[in-house]
C-alpha cells in the first residue's frame, strides 16, 4: 500500500510516481514536481486557459484539477505533442505547433501551450473546422497579444496542410502599399 500523498500520474505516455500533498493542483504537480513547465499559470483559478492540458484527449484546466484525482487518466501536456508526433512517424513538431510557428501566432507565447492543446483537441474530433467552430473551441483560452487572427490562420493552415490545400491569403499578404519618401 502506498503512503498518502504518493500516487501515479500518466503524463505524455509515461507513468510517474508522484509525491505531493493532496492540496496540490495538477498544474502545480506538472510544473513543480515533474518539471513540465510548458503548462502555464495565468489567472490562478480557471479564468484564462493557459494551464490547459488534455485529459483522456479532452481539454481541461489543470489549475482547477486536483492532481491526485487525475490518477488513472491519460494526461497530455504541451511537451507531449512533439514526441507523440515523432513516435507516430512524423517529422519535427506536431503539425499544429508547426503551423502556429509558421503563421506568426506566437507572440509572447504564454497562452499558446494551452491554446495549441485546445486546437489539437478540436482537430482530433473535427479535422476541418470552420472559423466559427474554432472561435467556439478556443473561447476558453485568452490570448492578450494576437487578437486571435493569426491563431485562426494557424489552425486553418494546419488544416490546409493536412488536406494538401493552400490556405487562403492573409490580408497583409497583398503587396504593401508603397509610399516613397520625398526625394
Amino acid at each position: 500500500m502506498r503512503r498518502m500523498g504518493e500516487y501515479r500520474l500518466e503524463v505524455n505516455g509515461d507513468t510517474h510516481e508522484v509525491s505531493a500533498p493532496d492540496h496540490w493542483t495538477l498544474l502545480e504537480v506538472l510544473r513543480y514536481r515533474l518539471g513540465l513547465t510548458g503548462s502555464k499559470q495565468g489567472c490562478d483559478k480557471g479564468d484564462c486557459g493557459a494551464c490547459t492540458v488534455l485529459v483522456d484527449g479532452r481539454p481541461v484546466l489543470s489549475c482547477l484539477s486536483l492532481a491526485r484525482a487525475s490518477e488513472g487518466r491519460a494526461i497530455t501536456t504541451i511537451e507531449g505533442l512533439m514526441p507523440a508526433h515523432l513516435r507516430a512517424g512524423g517529422k519535427g513538431a506536431d503539425p499544429v505547433q508547426e503551423a502556429f510557428d509558421r503563421c506568426g501566432a506566437l507572440q509572447c507565447g504564454f497562452c499558446q501551450p494551452g491554446m495549441i492543446l485546445s486546437a489539437r483537441a478540436l482537430l482530433n474530433r473535427c479535422p476541418a473546422p470552420s472559423r466559427e467552430q474554432m472561435r467556439d473551441a478556443l473561447s476558453g483560452n485568452l490570448c492578450r497579444c494576437t487578437g486571435y487572427t493569426q491563431i485562426f490562420e494557424a489552425v486553418e493552415s494546419a488544416v490546409a496542410t493536412s488536406l494538401g490545400l493552400t490556405p487562403a491569403p492573409r490580408s497583409w499578404e497583398a503587396p504593401p502599399v508603397a509610399k516613397e519618401a520625398r526625394p
Binding site: T37, A93, E98, G104, L106, F110, R135, K179
Partner: protein, 793 residues
C-alpha cells in the same frame, strides 16, 4: 562611425541612395520569416521566469495594505519570523531608499515606509521554504494602521492638498501639471467658421499580460546578485536595484527570461524585484516571488483615466484653425511615468493633422488607487479618442465626409508640427485610402440601414523618443556581434523581447547584412552581464533603435569580411557581396567562397572577430521646456475603419470588422507587423467594449481577476484586416518605424464614430457598455420627440 552618423539623406537605405532597395531586392527583410523563438514557445520549451527553479530555492510572498490611505503605526513581524520554515521577513525599513522609473519623481518604496497609499500597497515580504509557509507567515504579521482620508475622485485631489498622499511636495496632491500653447488659440477659435466643444471620458484599463510578474534572485558567496525578472526594462531595473540595495551596479546582473506579455505593464521597477533580491542577500538562498493575478491588478501601471475637454475650430472648408484641450488625469497613488504621461497627453496629438494653433492644459493628480502608468499607446490613446470623435463632430457640422475632413487636414511629410516636432516620412494619406477602399466606405457608409455603421479614425505615434529617461549622451541602443569559426554569429542585445519579436528582428538584420541564413544566428538578449545597454521595450523604440544599432554593428563586421575576401581574391572590396551563406564576386560570379571561409579569412587577417554598433537619436524637439518629450526620430501613422452594429433592444455593440492600415515605414517582417497591428486593434476594441479597471466605494479593486476583468475571448473579437503601408523612413532601419502601439489608437474613436453612423448616438464616455448605449438611445428618442413636437407647433 556609428549609426548616429548615418542619419539624413546620406543613410545607405534612403531612397535614391546607392543602398536603396526595393522589397524584392532584400533577401531576408520583408519576408514572413518565423521567429527565432517560435518553435520553443510552441513546444513549451521556452523558459519564462516562473519556469526557473534553483536548488534550495525559497518562495516569497507579499503582505499588502488592506487600507487605501493610512499611516503605519507599528509592524510586528516576530510571530512570522518564529514560524518554522520562515527564513526572512522584511519590511519598509529594510529598503528605505525611494525609487521611481523617472529619476525626477522617486516616490516609491519596495515596501511601504511609514504609510500606505492604496489597497494592495506592499507592506512586508516573507521568504519561506514553500508558498504555503510564506502565506501562513503573512497572516502572523501584525500591522497597526492609522486611517487617513481617502481620495478616490481626482477632482477632489485637484483642490484638496491635505492629507497629502505624498508628503513634502509643494504641489499638494497634484502630481504634474503642464500648460503649453502654440500660437494664438483663442483668436483662431474666435475666427473659426465652426467650433465644437465637448467633454469626453476615458476610463482606466490595464495590460493584463497572461504571464503574471515573477522574479527570482540569487546572491552568490562572492557577492554577485543575479535577478531573473519578467521585466521589459532590464537596464532600469539594474539601476534601480543598485540604488535601493546600495550595491554597486557591477555586482548586479539582471536577466529577462522569455516574457509572457507586458504591454507597458512591466516597464517600472517593481516591489517584487527588490524583495527577492534583498531576501536572497539576507538568506543566502535563491528566492522566487510569483505574483498572483490579483497582485498583478494591484501593481497595475495601466491606462490613466482622463477627463478631457476639447474645443476645436475649423473653417467652412474643413480646415482646422485651432485645438484647445484641458485634461484631468487620475494618476493613482504613485508617479511611475506620470511626468511623461502628462506631457504625452498633449504633445502627441499634433499629427497626422496640421494644427495651426494648439493649447493643452494637462494635470495629473494622485488618488488612493493602484498606480497608473504606461499602457500601449502611453498617454496618447485617451486624447486621441476625444479628438477623433470631435473631428467627426466637426465633419458632421460641415456636412463633410469623415475621411475627407481628415484628408483636408493632413499635415504632409517632412514637416514640423505646431509644437515643434520633426515629422519625416508620413504615409497617413495612403492609410486613409487603404481603409476607405478595403471597407468599401463610399458604397457602404451611411447606407447600411439603421443599426449598422462604419466609422473612421486616424492617429500617429512615436518610434522611440529622444528623451532617455535619465539624462545622458551615451547610445540609447547598443549591439555586439560575436563570430564563431563554425559560421555562427551571436548577437548580443540589451533589447527586451516581450513577444513583439525584437530578437527575431535582430536576427533578420544580421542575416540581411552578412548574407547568412537566420538559423546561423543566435540572439542573446536582455542580460546585463552579457549584453550592451539598451534602454528597454517601451515607447515603441526597439525596432527603430536596436535595428539601427544592429545595422551599424553588421556593417563594421561586413567591412572586415569583405576586406579579407577581397585581399584573398586580389580584387576591390566593392566587388565582394555577402549573400546566402556565400561571399561572391559580383564581376565574376564563378568565384565564391562560403561565409565560414570568409569568417576564417577575416579572423586570420584581423584577429578575433567581433563588432559593436549603436544608435542615438539626433537632436530633436521643440525649443521649450518639455519640448523633447514626445520628440521622436520618426512617427508611425494609422487609420482604421470599424464596421459595427448596435442591438437597440439590448444596447450591445457588435464589431464585425476592423480594417487597420498602418504606416510602419518598412515591414521588416510583414507577418510580425500584421500581428502587432491586429493585436493593437484588439486591445483597443477590448478597452472600448469590455474592460474597466476601477475601484469600488471602499477603494477596493472592483474585480482583480480575469473573470471580472473581462478580456475578450475568441468569440468576442472581430475580424481584423491588416494592411501595411510602407513610407520608407529615411532614418529607420531599412526605413522601418514602429508597429506595436500606433495601431491601437484609432480603434476606440473609430468605433464610436461607427456607432454614430449606425444609430445616431455619439458615445463620448468609455467604456461603451450596453447600459450606456441604451441610455444614449433613450436620450436621442426624447430629443427627437421634443423636436417633433416643437416642429408640429
Amino acid at each position: 562611425m556609428s549609426a548616429r552618423d548615418l542619419h539624413g539623406p546620406g543613410a545607405p537605405w534612403g531612397p535614391g541612395e546607392p543602398g536603396a532597395k526595393s522589397n524584392q531586392e532584400f533577401v531576408t527583410v520583408g519576408k514572413p520569416h518565423r521567429k527565432v523563438d517560435g518553435i520553443a514557445k510552441a513546444t513549451g520549451a521556452a523558459i519564462y521566469a516562473d519556469d526557473i527553479t534553483l536548488p534550495g530555492m525559497l518562495h516569497a510572498k507579499t503582505l499588502r495594505s488592506p487600507h487605501p490611505h493610512a499611516k503605519i503605526r507599528r509592524i510586528d513581524t516576530s510571530k512570522a519570523r518564529a514560524l518554522k520554515g520562515v527564513h526572512a521577513v522584511i519590511t519598509g525599513e529594510s529598503m528605505p531608499i525611494k525609487y521611481g522609473v523617472i529619476p525626477w519623481t522617486p516616490d516609491e518604496n519596495a515596501l511601504a515606509v511609514d504609510k500606505v497609499r492604496f489597497i494592495g500597497d506592499p507592506v512586508a515580504a516573507v521568504a519561506a521554504i514553500d508558498e504555503d509557509t510564506a502565506n501562513a507567515a503573512l497572516k502572523l504579521i501584525e500591522v497597526e494602521y492609522e486611517l487617513l482620508h481617502t481620495f478616490l475622485d481626482p477632482r477632489e485631489s485637484l483642490v484638496r492638498a491635505e492629507p497629502a498622499i505624498h508628503e513634502g511636495r509643494k504641489e499638494g496632491n497634484i502630481s504634474k501639471s503642464v500648460q503649453l500653447e502654440f500660437g494664438q488659440v483663442d483668436e483662431a477659435l474666435a475666427s473659426a467658421d465652426v467650433v465644437v466643444e465637448d467633454d469626453y471620458f476615458f476610463h482606466g484599463s490595464t495590460h493584463a499580460p497572461i504571464e503574471p510578474h515573477c522574479a527570482v534572485a540569487t546572491y552568490s558567496p562572492d557577492g554577485v546578485l543575479t535577478l531573473w525578472s519578467a521585466t521589459q526594462i532590464t537596464h532600469y531595473v539594474h539601476r534601480a536595484l543598485s540604488r535601493v540595495l546600495e550595491l554597486p551596479a557591477h555586482r548586479i546582473r539582471v536577466i529577462q527570461p522569455c516574457l509572457g506579455g507586458a504591454f507597458g505593464g512591466k516597464s517600472d521597477p517593481f516591489s517584487l524585484e527588490f524583495c527577492v533580491a534583498k531576501l536572497a542577500m539576507l538568506t543566502g538562498r535563491a528566492v522566487k516571488m510569483l505574483w498572483t493575478r490579483e497582485e498583478v491588478f494591484y501593481a497595475h501601471r495601466g491606462r490613466h483615466p482622463m477627463q478631457l475637454h476639447y474645443r476645436s475650430g475649423a473653417t467652412k472648408d474643413g480646415k482646422l484653425t485651432g485645438v484647445d484641450a484641458k485634461i484631468l488625469i487620475d494618476g493613482g497613488s504613485y508617479s511611475s511615468f506620470g511626468l511623461v504621461t502628462t506631457y504625452y497627453s498633449g504633445q502627441l496629438l499634433t499629427g497626422p493633422y496640421h494644427f495651426p494653433t494648439y493649447r493643452f492644459d494637462s494635470t495629473r493628480v494622485f488618488t488612493n488607487k493602484p498606480p497608473c502608468g504606461p499602457k500601449r499607446g502611453h498617454g496618447s490613446v485617451q486624447p486621441r479618442f476625444a479628438f477623433e470623435v470631435q473631428l467627426d463632430q466637426l465633419a458632421e457640422k460641415l456636412a463633410l465626409d469623415p475621411i475627407e475632413i481628415r484628408r483636408r487636414n493632413f499635415q504632409g511629410d517632412f514637416t514640423r508640427t505646431v509644437n515643434g516636432q520633426r515629422v519625416t516620412s508620413n504615409g497617413f494619406l495612403q492609410c486613409l485610402d487603404e481603409v476607405e477602399r478595403a471597407s468599401r466606405w463610399r458604397e457602404r457608409r451611411g447606407k447600411l440601414g439603421f443599426g449598422r455603421g462604419l466609422g473612421v479614425a486616424g492617429s500617429m505615434y512615436i518610434s522611440g523618443t529622444n528623451y532617455p529617461v535619465y539624462p545622458n549622451e551615451m547610445p540609447q541602443a547598443g549591439i555586439q556581434l560575436k563570430v564563431d569559426r563554425s559560421g555562427l554569429v551571436t548577437v548580443f542585445t540589451g533589447g527586451n523581447d516581450i513577444g513583439q519579436g525584437s530578437n527575431s528582428m535582430c536576427a533578420y538584420i544580421v542575416s540581411e547584412e552578412l548574407g547568412i541564413p537566420i538559423e546561423r544566428i543566435r540572439v542573446v538578449a536582455a542580460d546585463t552581464d552579457l549584453c550592451p545597454v539598451d534602454l528597454g521595450a517601451y515607447s515603441s523604440r526597439v525596432t527603430f533603435m536596436v535595428g539601427n544599432a544592429t545595422i551599424d554593428a553588421c556593417r563594421k563586421l561586413r567591412e572586415q569580411l569583405v576586406a579579407a575576401v577581397a585581399e584573398k581574391w586580389g580584387c576591390a572590396p566593392t566587388r565582394v557581396r555577402l549573400l546566402e551563406g556565400l561571399a561572391i564576386d559580383l564581376e565574376d560570379t564563378s568565384r565564391s567562397m562560403t561565409s565560414v571561409e570568409a569568417f576564417h579569412l577575416a579572423e586570420t587577417k584581423f584577429d578575433t572577430l567581433g563588432a559593436t554598433g549603436s544608435y542615438n537619436t539626433p537632436k530633436l524637439g521643440g525649443d521649450y521646456r518639455g519640448g523633447t518629450i514626445g520628440a521622436s526620430p520618426a512617427y508611425s501613422f494609422t487609420a482604421h475603419v470599424v464596421d459595427a452594429s448596435v442591438d437597440v433592444e439590448t444596447g450591445r455593440i457588435t464589431v464585425h470588422d476592423v480594417w487597420v492600415a498602418h504606416d510602419c515605414g518598412r515591414a521588416l517582417n510583414p507577418m510580425i507587423v500584421a500581428g502587432q497591428m491586429e493585436g493593437s486593434a484588439y486591445m483597443g476594441i477590448a478597452e472600448a467594449l469590455f474592460e474597466e479597471h476601477d475601484v469600488n466605494r471602499f477603494g477596493l479593486h472592483r474585480g482583480p481577476s480575469l473573470l471580472d476583468y473581462r478580456l475578450p475571448t475568441s468569440l468576442d473579437t472581430p475580424e481584423f484586416r491588416a494592411r501595411i503601408v510602407e513610407s520608407i523612413d529615411p532614418e529607420g532601419p531599412y526605413g522601418a518605424k514602429e508597429a506595436g502601439e500606433g495601431p491601437l489608437h484609432p480603434s476606440l474613436p473609430a468605433l464610436s464614430n461607427a456607432v454614430y453612423d449606425a444609430v445616431g448616438i455619439r458615445l463620448k464616455h468609455l467604456p461603451f457598455t450596453p447600459a450606456k448605449v441604451l441610455a444614449a438611445l433613450r436620450e436621442k428618442r426624447e430629443r427627437e420627440s421634443v423636436a417633433t413636437a416643437q416642429g408640429a407647433r
